[in-house]
Amino acid sequence: MDDLVLAARGLHRSFGSLEVACDINFALAAGARHALIGPNGAGKSTLVNLLTGALRPSAGSIWLDGVDVTGLAVHQRVRRGLARTFQINTLLREMSVLEGVQLAVLERGGQGRALLGGRAGQRRAAEEGFDLLEQLGLAGDASAIVGALAYGRQRLVEVAMALALRPRVLLLDEPAAGVPPADSHLMLEVIARLPAGIAVLIIEHDMKLVFRFAERISVLVAGRILTEGSPAEIAADPRVREVYLGGRAHG
């Protein structure tokens, strides 16, 4: 599994008697475009939390670039190239958009520990941050306070913060959730234009987006991977239709 940037082997996790991850095996190759779908409460966010280290699995292991990182903390995995966005905005709400991205760039370079000085590094990081915001169509909001932005814009800031880390693996937890339809094309464009070298796992309920973006799709139901395949295989799978696609429209 050396060519895999991220791999999970036999993950288990329960909350009390509720099994939210059961024998999950899963892998991303470099540059992968992978979608994870499943009904509400299937355990999709839980799986992201297991992969990033926010939750510990009760059994199984997680590998980054062929290294077992199961015992590593969240920040250590980030430093090895694993970035994520949150389903619910987790931002530095009182800072400007640019400052938040600048901090991410500084941390990526290990400069965040600099007790004194750091002015030149801060300037370079802010410049790099601005260029990134420009690519995401956020340049006009660079000096705006994050908490004052419209929700859809804040979702884009989530993505900007993750990309500022120049990750090798990016986990997107429902990036378009809550974005008003008028703005959702912005997020679609950003996702479509993600750097090719990054392995991306996207959790999404919008099937149009999923089928447009993903090369492979995993279906998670009640903590278990029901099936995995190409978009055509998933669309044709009667079990998937039954539990998900054919069921009542998702809310």
């Binding site: 990033t52 969240v74 987790t90 009182e94 800072m95 965040g112 520990r113 600099a114 340049a139 913060m161």
Partner: protein, 326 residues
């Protein structure tokens, strides 16, 4: 100018000095010449400003709420005092030693209490203060127990400026220490480290998702803050030539918190305003009628906390005269 240069410029210029920042120092020097009879009170105010500044790093910048900061102030005071009664009278080395001892306690205490948060953190901070208080109380022979540690003799500063009975040397000494400490803290809060503390205050999960060890950053600032609190305690002991159990009391932890919240946390200058306002008002009003004074103080604090969460400096920001540092 390009949009990029403009936006980056806005961010970078916040580090620069503004003219209003000269104000507290001009006021402090003016006070030295104009109010020679109040130098002792002035020295106490400077000490409390330094103490509040150390707390601001924790509370205002990192968002760590503690009611145990007197432990470090008191430890610094007793360290400086005991060095002097033990025969080491040189003041500057005494300061450094006191700050180092307080920072060392900060490292040990922080390692334990920063694993917790909220109420547990509050209780552990208080427990450490209580512990030190009882140790100082029981080591009668060494610390003077409840009578306090007197006979703290300090040699002339730099071998030349004796600590005179008018308190002139004391005042300028306290002012100089505060100034140097302030320069250090100001540089730290605007450096990448300080900005990351503000990030931790706003959202630890986000900082962690950026690859930051939130615990390590919190511990680092805790050690720094403890050292600065110890420095304040040492200046207090050296200038008053006395250390007492009051230096290790809950009362003091509460007072410095009150001063900072009153002035406005997270703005560097909150302690300057809070300590000055509170101690000057106390000096003037409390002589007349202590109970009445506390009543009005209580009422004032309630109104402030309810209506102006950012303290007196927040009032200034609300009137559109300047914002929060971060």
């Amino acid at each position: 100018m390009s949009a990029r240069a403009a936006a980056v410029g806005v961010l970078m210029r916040r580090r620069s000095w503004r003219w209003v920042e000269a104000l507290p120092w001009v006021a402090a020097i003016a006070g030295f010449f104009l109010l020679p009879n109040y130098l002792q009170l002035g020295t106490q105010i400077l000490v409390m400003i330094l103490f509040a500044l150390s707390l601001d790093l924790l509370l205002g910048y990192t968002g760590i709420v503690t009611l145990g900061h007197a432990a470090f102030f008191g430890l610094g005071a007793y360290t400086a005092g005991l060095l002097a009664t033990g025969g080491w009278h040189e003041p500057l080395s005494g300061l450094v030693a006191a700050a180092a001892v307080a920072a060392a306690l900060g490292l040990v205490a922080g390692f334990v209490i920063l694993r917790t948060s909220g109420l547990a953190l509050l209780m552990l901070g208080m427990a450490i203060t209580l512990l030190l208080y009882e140790v100082a109380n029981n080591l009668n022979g060494l610390t003077g127990g409840a009578d306090g540690l007197s006979g703290v003799e300090i040699a002339p500063l730099l071998g030349r400026f004796g600590f005179d009975m008018y308190g002139r040397t004391s005042y300028l000494y306290a002012l100089a220490v505060l100034f140097v400490a302030f320069l250090l803290v100001r540089a730290i809060v605007w450096a990448p480290f300080g900005r990351s503390l503000v990030g931790i205050r706003q959202n630890p999960a986000r900082m962690q998702a950026m690859g930051v060890s939130v615990f390590a950053r919190r511990l680092a600032v805790f050690v720094l803050s403890a050292g600065l609190a110890g420095l304040a305690g040492a200046v207090s002991a050296q200038t008053s030539q006395f250390a007492s159990l009051d230096n290790l009391s809950f009362d003091l932890s509460g007072t410095v918190l009150l001063m900072l919240v009153l002035g406005g946390p997270g703005r560097l200058y909150g302690g300057f305003i809070g300590a000055s306002v509170l101690m000057i008002a106390q000096d003037g009003l409390a002589k007349e009628n202590p109970v009445f004074w506390l009543f009005w103080l209580g009422l004032f604090v309630i109104l402030l906390v309810v209506f102006v969460p950012g303290g007196l400096l927040g009032l200034r920001a609300r009137l559109g005269l300047g914002g929060r540092d971060g």
